[in-house]
Symmetry: C2
Subunit: 130 residues, 2 copies
DNA sequence: ATTAAATTTATACTAAGTCTAAATACTATT
DNA sequence: AATAGTATTTAGACTTAGTATAAATTTAAT
């Protein structure tokens, strides 16, 4: 665990991810950086995303698609994906502690963390006329 | 929805996945088929796995690794991954319905399904001496 | 037997990400 | 300020997992 070292590139990428309302992939992040006048090497973007993730400044989301997405929100939270339009929203309710305890007891694991991805249909897709 | 068509290849792959205690990747499935004397084309294995998944006979697990894993258990269940050794176990307790209702209410989604992956440390890794 | 449809095969291709070696940028010490 | 040492960036080759395609084969239906 060494000291945090935010280079120009890492800072720009952190700022960008934090400013996003959505959850961009690495490719989308590169595209948005380019639109802001930044032109970083391919590998630098991946390296920086990993660095920032390891440092706990951003989160990597693996939602079952081929590419990871990134999230500037670092609080513990989950996601819900719309099957119809692909939209991803935040889920702020945590799974009940009672359930986690039950899982730990039944599996004999120390449970550190859980990733939850809900799938369903979002409000807009339910009401396409509105 | 057409009728189920289990070709020789699909049957062999289904049998193999159902006989597994673990959750093999496509590459591991190919390897195990080869050891049993089957030699199917690369693409056939992927096609068959998708076919069997779509037919609901097996499940595709996306546990956040680079490759999908496959599971012969079709009942609704979840998984727990050991951070130390990578081992994957089944979790049979479902998330409480109350929590799902809360999530649906807060997000305005119709929630159809949830994928849950727990991370932690398994019994063997906790007690390495035993 | 003949045609049509579905499936398998071999192989080319794609997407997402890692690895490597050289170039560049920082840091600390004198 | 010069030097040495470490860290980072860059460009591009490479890897892995999976998809796409077109020809060959199998299966099913007349």
């Amino acid at each position: 665990m060494s000291r945090l070292n935010l280079t120009t590139q890492r800072k720009a990428i952190l700022d960008l991810v934090q400013s996003c309302e959505d959850h961009p992939t690495a490719a989308e992040i590169m595209e948005r950086l380019r639109m802001k006048g930044h032109q970083f090497a391919y590998g630098t973007v991946y390296n920086s995303l990993r660095y920032l993730t390891d440092a706990g400044l951003i989160r990597e989301l693996k939602l079952g698609e081929t590419a990871s997405r990134y999230d500037g929100r670092t609080e513990d939270h989950y996601h819900i994906v719309c099957k119809k339009c692909g939209r991803v929203d935040e889920v702020l309710s945590a799974p009940p502690a009672e359930w986690i305890r039950e899982v730990a007891a039944k599996t004999n694991y120390d449970v550190h963390h859980s990733q939850v991805v809900f799938e369903g249909v979002c409000y807009s897709c339910k009401h396409p006329n509105a």
